[in-house]
């Protein structure tokens, strides 16, 4: 690991001032960053440790019915917060389906949003990677790319965003509160991550020094609590990144769908909202045929970026399955194998 200066700011303003200079990076839990630094993929000159900053570790209900989650809330604490899991069950299920218990205990909400791709060529410093070394090329294009993107990719980069957490968040119109040198601002999470285009090294709209201070869920996000699921196909049942995943949220009235919120994970460089699919479901009955039409719409623009044509049909099926399980009702408790499509036990329902 390259040597670095360690800075421990006492306030957010100090943190921003210290992190604005080129070569600086924020350190939260470090579960992703330290791994990247050990491999020489990330080589910061300065680490600005934000883990001790005051005021970033609370979950608060807002007057407008929304929820504000501090950036330093740990993944495990959020997932196991009973009120949170009841109101946003698919988000809790997504959190519990990610990484391992040890990593969830350490990893933070803000860090999760900013985790880097798991593309093996990005991780391997001997490989060409436009994201790690702009202009060097992309060895994933002619390499092992069955796990890579099928939506929104470019000739320069076919990596995917690995977060599970972000998928239901984007479906629920979550927003990110950012503090930077020009003050505080709020953007939609959906707008934070960028597609690769010709600049895959630019992964988000964040500017130097920008610090995520909180995540916000709007009041309407609670409306889906009774019909919300996250499903994730992995190469093994636990402790693996998604090959493809989907978050499905529905509101139902008299057997018909009033509203739908759908997003996909593991298929693009950002968590992928499927608005066309949502619109097709409004006013429709709960049938496999309608879910299949929605899934076809969600993947209409998909094309293989390598040996991964299978992921397109897989993603369609995971959308259909997630919608069917959401329609059946949210389990009262997160399943023993969170987000697993192979979990046969659904248990009692959320509002039964």
């Amino acid at each position: 690991m390259k040597s670095f200066d360690y800075v421990k700011p006492a306030s957010i303003a100090e943190a921003i001032a210290a992190a604005r200079t080129p070569g600086a990076a924020y350190l939260a839990a470090g579960t992703n960053l330290l791994d990247l630094m050990k491999g020489g993929v990330s080589r910061p000159d300065r680490l600005v440790d934000v883990t001790h900053l005051p005021g970033l570790g609370t979950i608060e209900k807002l007057a407008d019915g929304g929820l504000r989650i501090g950036a330093l809330v740990r993944n495990a604490d959020l997932a196991h917060d009973a009120a949170f899991a009841k109101a946003y069950p698919a988000v809790a299920e997504a959190l519990l389906s990610g990484a391992s218990a040890q990593l969830r205990n350490a990893a933070t909400v803000g860090g999760n949003l900013l985790q880097r791709t798991r593309c093996a060529y990005f991780y391997d410093v001997a490989s060409a990677c436009n994201k790690r070394a702009p202009g060097s090329g992309c060895d994933a294009r002619g390499g092992h790319n069955d796990m890579h993107a099928v939506l929104g990719w470019s000739d320069g980069c076919i990596a995917t965003h690995p977060s599970d957490f972000c998928v239901p968040l984007v479906a629920l119109d979550a927003a990110v509160e950012i503090e930077g040198s020009k003050g505080r601002r709020e953007i939609r999470l959906e707008d934070m991550h960028l597609l690769p285009g010709t600049t895959p090294e630019q992964e988000t709209v964040l500017e130097p020094g920008d610090l995520i201070v909180a995540l916000k869920l709007p009041a309407e996000a609670r409306n889906f609590a009774s019909h919300a699921r996250y499903l994730k196909v992995r190469e093994r049942t636990s402790y693996a990144f998604a090959v493809a995943s989907a978050a499905a949220h529905l509101t139902l009235a008299n057997g018909r769908i009033e509203q739908a919120r759908i997003a996909l994970g593991g298929v693009a460089a950002k968590p992928w909202r499927a608005r066309e699919a949502e619109e097709l479901l409004v006013g429709r009955e709960v049938t496999d045929q309608n879910f299949r039409r929605a899934a076809d719409a969600a993947l209409a623009a998909a094309k293989p970026s390598g040996d991964n044509a299978f992921k397109i049909e897989l993603a369609r099926r995971i959308v259909v399955r997630a919608l069917a399980l959401a329609a059946a009702g949210t389990p009262e408790r997160s399943p023993a194998l969170p987000a697993s499509p192979f979990s046969i036990h659904s248990g009692a329902l959320h509002d039964a």
Partner: protein, 164 residues
């Protein structure tokens, strides 16, 4: 550059001078404090061999910078027995053949301690397996590990019932 931190390690306060901010909790324990029970497996957060408790929560010590944990309370495998009396999890791992080579065992036991503290799995074998999925065992002693954790959880629940 010199940074000093203090940690409470297995109940004992330690004032530690760090000569380099790159030192992880894992390397600090093994190289500077001579607590080699915590194992270095992958060193990348994938195997769980380095699992310890920090402020009562299990984490991968290989992915935690020591300098960022000033003031923390750390529990390692060296801190779980009471003198010569094994911790119930240690005894259960022996009784259920929860290991062969033993390299992953300190991490497994610390992870199991964390799992039981978290109170999410209970005696459900599926939830125990899921909750222990961050600890790999190359010998494949998973069946014995699950049984050992379940037995200790059962003992604990029986004890709680007696108290209540």
């Amino acid at each position: 550059m010199n940074h000093s931190i203090s940690l409470t390690v297995n109940g004992v306060r330690r004032d530690i001078a760090l000569t380099d901010p790159r030192v992880t909790l894992l390397d600090l324990l093994r190289e500077q404090l001579d607590l080699t029970g915590t194992k270095k497996g992958c060193d990348r957060g994938q195997c769980g061999a380095c699992t310890i408790l920090v402020d009562g929560r299990r984490i991968n010590s290989c992915l935690a910078l020591a300098i960022s944990h000033d003031g923390a309370a750390v529990t390692t495998i060296e801190g779980v027995a009471r003198g010569d009396e094994l911790h119930p999890l240690q005894a259960a791992f022996i009784a259920h053949d929860g290991f062969q080579c033993g390299f992953c065992t300190p991490g497994q036991i610390m992870s199991a301690l964390g799992l039981i503290n978290e109170g999410q799995a209970g005696c459900d074998a599926e939830r125990i397996r899921e909750g222990m999925s961050g600890n790999l065992c190359r010998c494949g002693a998973y069946a014995g590990i699950t049984e050992a954790v379940r037995e200790v959880q059962q003992q604990l629940e029986a004890k709680e019932r007696r108290v209540a």
